[in-house]
């Protein structure tokens, strides 16, 4: 995906000099491998810092909330779906934005890569479909397909859905992927097994709220976990409190989550947080035939009422 960068820089420079936008939101190289950081480019020099590779897994729509002025933004498939969600939730106006669409072939999973090697990974080079990972005393070249983040491996919207200009040719969408394989697996368990599964899943959680901060959907001025009057959820490490946080956060994302995987990517403990949102995405798909962020003209299922909405759960 590194081939897009020249085109991205060219577009960013052009829209900035033409005065179409005041800044361009993209990525620059991070201080450690596989950790590209968000970058707000406002001048030709800062445009030069922009990069694009397989480590751009954060969701840039997160930086658009309630912004004033005109903004250029680099958007892969999931970013563009979150931009659509932002627009329909009135968090930004479509005409403030100049969306530079980037067809995506998936981002690599830094948790997985770090776990593969004993020593610290010091350098990760990408060329075409192969990734070379090296550190003190080791170097290995692997295919990118094996290293994809879990959400990218089952992604069916790699191309941006909304854009003003593309930085490359559209890529072929993945077909025949079972998006909900992980959910179906858990669904087959008994109630006790399910409970233990999620208890184990969340046991490393340190309540740092990185998942919430990286999520483009979590833009409330005061999050429910930070409220103290009333205090909705206990602030301790008790498993019940931890689970309450994760369940409620997931509910707040119901019908809005695009499975961009930013939450999992930023989790310092490598918890599979998508297990919660994925279940809700599956329910939205089954009950309402809805996938978030695909169209600017449709309202999400949870803010509309239809007489034929499913209601089997109400007695």
């Amino acid at each position: 995906m590194t081939q897009y960068i020249d085109k991205i820089k060219e577009i960013a420079n052009r829209v900035l000099t033409e005065g179409k936008v005041e800044m361009v939101i993209g990525f620059r190289k991070g201080s450690v491998p596989m950790m590209n950081q968000p970058h707000l480019a406002t001048s030709a020099e800062s445009v030069d810092e922009l990069v694009w590779d397989s480590n751009c897994g954060l969701n840039l729509a997160n930086y658009l909330t309630d912004k004033k002025g005109t903004i250029g933004i680099i958007a892969k498939g999931c970013d563009s779906r979150n931009i659509v969600t932002h627009v329909i939730e009135n968090k930004i106006k479509r005409d403030q934005l100049y969306i530079i669409g980037v067809p995506c072939t998936g981002m690599i999973d830094h948790h997985k890569i770090n776990a593969m090697f004993d020593g610290e990974v010091l350098n990760v080079e990408e060329s075409g479909d192969s990734i070379t990972i090296s550190g003190n005393g080791f170097s290995e070249t692997l295919s990118k397909q094996e290293l994809l983040a879990e959400n990218c491996a089952v992604c069916s919207h790699r191309n941006p859905v909304e854009y003003d200009e593309l930085a490359g040719d559209l890529v072929e969408e993945q077909k025949d992927v079972d998006q909900y394989a992980s959910v179906t697996k858990v669904e087959a368990l008994s109630a006790d097994e399910k409970f233990n599964y999620f208890e184990d899943l969340l046991s490393p959680c340190i309540r740092c709220y990185a998942c919430r901060n990286a999520c483009p959907l979590c833009y409330c001025p005061t999050c429910f976990v930070d409220e103290s009057r009333p205090q909705w959820v206990g602030k301790s490490q008790d498993p019940t409190d931890v689970k309450t946080f994760h369940l409620l956060r997931a509910y707040h994302c119901a019908g809005r989550c695009t499975d961009c995987g930013a939450c999992e990517r930023v989790c310092p403990m490598g918890i599979k947080i998508r297990e919660f949102t994925k279940k809700l995405n599956k329910d939205c798909q089954d009950l309402y035939g809805w996938e978030a962020g695909l169209s600017l003209d449709e309202r999400p299922p949870l803010d509309t009422f239809k007489t034929d909405d499913p209601d089997e759960f109400i007695k």
Binding site: A191, D238, T240, Y251, F276, D283
Partner: protein, 57 residues
Amino acid sequence: MKNLLEHTGLEPGRLHFSWISSAESTKFVDVVTKITDEVKALDPANKKYVKTEPKVD
């Protein structure tokens, strides 16, 4: 809401939803009786989602 809670291990039958108007007193009685009967039939030792004393290792 029910789906995710049950997906994460809440026993089916612990959570109920109903729509009852303030004029439907008989329906209210029926529903509450039915719910309490169903919940009483479940294992009382199952205290998931209930905050307990912290574990000491």
